[in-house]
Amino acid sequence: MRTLRLWLRALFDSSVVESEIDDEIQLHLDLRARDYRKRGYSEKEARDLARRRFGDEDMVKRQCRRLLMVERTRGGTPLMSTVIRELRHGLRSLAKTPGTTAIILLTLALGIGANTAIFSVVEGVLLRPLPYPEPDRLVTLWENDRLRGTTQEGFSLPDYVDVRDQNHVFESMAAFAFVTTTWTSEDEQPRRLSAARVSASFTDVLGVSPSLGRSFRAEEDREGGPPVVILGPDFFRTRFGATAEALGTRLVLDGLSREIVGVMPEGFEFPSPDAALYLPLEAGSDAARGNHGISVVARVKEGVRLEEVNAQLSALASGLEAAYPDDNAGRGMWGETLYQSTVGDSRRGLLLLLAAVGFVLLVACVNVAGILSSRALARARELAIQSALGASRWALIRQQLIESLTLSFAGGVLALAVSAAARRALLALAPSDLPRASNVETNGTVLVFTLALSLIAALVFGVLPALAGSRVNLRGSLGSAIGAPGGRLRRALLVGEIALAVVLVFGAGLLIRSFVRLVHEDPGFTATNVVAVGLSLPASRYPQRFPEWPRWNQVRAFQTELLRQLSDSPGADSAAIAINTPLDAGWTSRFTIEGRPEVAPGQEDEVRVRAVSPGYFRTVGLPILRGRDLTDDDERPDAPAVIVVNEAFVRRYFQDQEPLGARVTQWELTREIVGVVKNEKFRGLAEEVPPAIYPTFSQAPFAEFFLLVRSKETPERVLDRIRDTVGRIDPELALGDVATLDERISASVAEPRFTMTVFAFFAALALGLAAVGIYGLMSQAVGLRTRELGVRMSLGARPKDVLALVLGEGARLSALGIAIGVILAAGVARTFESFLFGVEKLDPLTLATVVAVAAVTGLLATYLPARRASRIDPIRTLRQE
């Protein structure tokens, strides 16, 4: 109890502590003077006598202070009270220089805070285990295709069933698919919802039971089973107020009334956070072995390793290849942990940022080390006296370290505030598909990290100045300051600071250049003024039986009427429908070209297929290069089947032949090539344009599609018009996936933008800290050399010469730092390689820019101290000593 009180007093009562000795002695003098006055002395005489009687006041104070601070060599005292005293002393000396202390705390708060923020994201997204029991046993399964070079494809339903029934490594398996569904209710506009179709086993595999009701039964997971639905936690909360009465009521989804049989627990985010509902997978609905539209997750048997899983999958895949050569030739299967498939893609970006922010903290530490070493030098006299009074070197180092720890922990506390703000900014900037973003918070792990970081930082920035300070000797510091003690340390800090900043700025430069390249990459299409809206026609009212395809009359009637009404409306320059929007890769299909040599079944090439209505190329601004555009005539039921192909298709398959008039067979339908269109990007701006064919939509209709409208009106007005038009034709349809093409381009580069923005911010922070640090270190050097510079000036050096002298030293050190930084940057450049697009990892332009930026920063930061040096008054400096 008493110890605690002492600690508290030492920590919080520093003002009392500071003047304790002074007060006590002042009281002594006053009381003594009072006694003298009583004996008849005058006020002044009494004071003088009291003072004289006391003797060397300063010496007594010093001795007392020393007794408070420095552990005596004999008569050991408990370490705790020594620490308290030194803590007190540290606080006192920090309070004496509030400006410097504030700069140190701010620097640390920024450095540690930025690290804490990034770490809290890393912890929530990467480090925390998935929220399922024994998450390490969960794996995601993929297929690949050796013949077409694909590495990661979904499963087909029959493949899933075969693996499920034949394997010996999985305890249980589940299949699922992402879908959207339209929810209609009496009170509201129809709404499109993200949903997952899941096999009944999905709760067993994940090990999570519904919080209300039950999971699907096996008989519900088949075609024609009873119509049921399970709610996701968010939908349950927002639409049903989380009341249990929701169970047993019905939802109308895509025109089908389904009974709510269960609710998943709060925090359940499988397979993605936006899944509002779960529907039975309804096995059989898309059961073709060649249709790879489902995802598979499995729980591995206890003790089975991933290698064994993959060996088993390879064996099963070979069996399927032999059994079904038409569909499965060249197909393999493999698994990765669910963790990997969930967060794998965000991993390298976050780790890069974690590394970058570590550099920022290093720069911050170097900065603080510089400030502290300059204070240590300023206190050289004090230290020398303590040393002369018998304080050991260890005692002096310890004193300095305790001060560093105090600073660091105070900085750490401030850092928590900084990190809270920074984390909000990070999450606002982060791509919307960052997995598990809702996990990010300041929890115990993050706090421990901050604490550890503060401790490490204190050691990094505290040890150097402590050693420097402890080496101070009487001769050096009680004598004059010629030769500027601590010069080597100061120079090393300055060089190190620049070098670290250069590495970060170089990385930022590469990422910025790469990003600029990326966004200036020509997507092929013209994005401005185009609004895209997703639509889905329910099978209940728009029959879509596969045997009748492509003669889906109701679907085609809706699409024709929609385009007719929109084209007639004022303001719309053009409108079209397409199976996917630009930049949405869509899917591929096998095809053959008439008259070419036969290819063994299962080994045909694949091509991107994008079914579009005739207005598509005009709407997205893709010029027809040869032949003709698709026209309304091609839409007529009896029209001959035609396609347009892209440049990449011609380059691959018709190098020196005439593409126009050639006939392409795909999906058992043979179509004639009537035109060649300019390339458009299919998957992201960074990827090469694949060969693609564009059948006309009526000849390849789909019930789920996008409507694209080009108009000079605002997107909001266009959207209103689309909503009115769709509502007039079918009031029960909902619009989904609303975005302009510009927004889609922007979303496609969200991840590199995030990485670049945050990295660039860190680089700027590091450069700013380095500039402040250089300024501080050079000011300190000039301060310590005042006398020398004064002598030089009195011997005839002009202000200009002094300016050049100091600037010269700054420039030399900066140049050395930049050189070291460039070497370091070249060393770590390989790390950036996978983040770059169109920029070499050792891009000379970036290197040159970084060197220039660092040099200018170094010079500017040196200029102010140099100018101050050139204005030294030689007479005054010489008189001072």
Binding site: L27, H28, R32, G55, V60, G75
Partner: protein, 110 residues
């Protein structure tokens, strides 16, 4: 016989301080004054020794200090004796008595 504190035998000042504080908590000045009064100014305490001695004794855990107010309402630091201070006083007292007897024996020897 104006003895300066510095001439006090080693350890004697500590003994005197502990003895005075055994009776009541005192501030630094009062300790010095009390010694002077009780010895009719025969012993004068040198402040240069008194305060470091007080700090040293506090460090060793014999004294404990706290801030309070004097009868004249001045803010002052008061020292009080601790349990280990009392033990120290006992042993020092015994030592002093032994020393005194020893000296006495020599002085009274024929």
């Amino acid at each position: 016989m104006p003895l300066q504190g510095s001439e006090l035998l080693h350890g004697t000042l500590e003994l005197l301080v502990l003895r005075l504080l055994e009776a009541e908590p005192l501030n630094g000045y009062a300790i010095g004054r009390r010694i002077e009064e009780l010895t009719d100014d025969a012993l004068k305490v040198d402040e240069g020794s008194l305060y470091p001695a007080l700090y040293r004794m506090e460090r060793r855990g014999w004294l404990q200090s706290s801030w309070g107010t004097t009868e004249n309402n001045r803010h002052a630091k008061f020292y009080r004796i601790t349990r280990s201070g009392r033990e120290r006083l006992h042993s020092q007292r015994a030592e002093w008595a032994g020393f005194q007897t020893a000296v006495q024996k020599i002085l009274e020897s024929p």
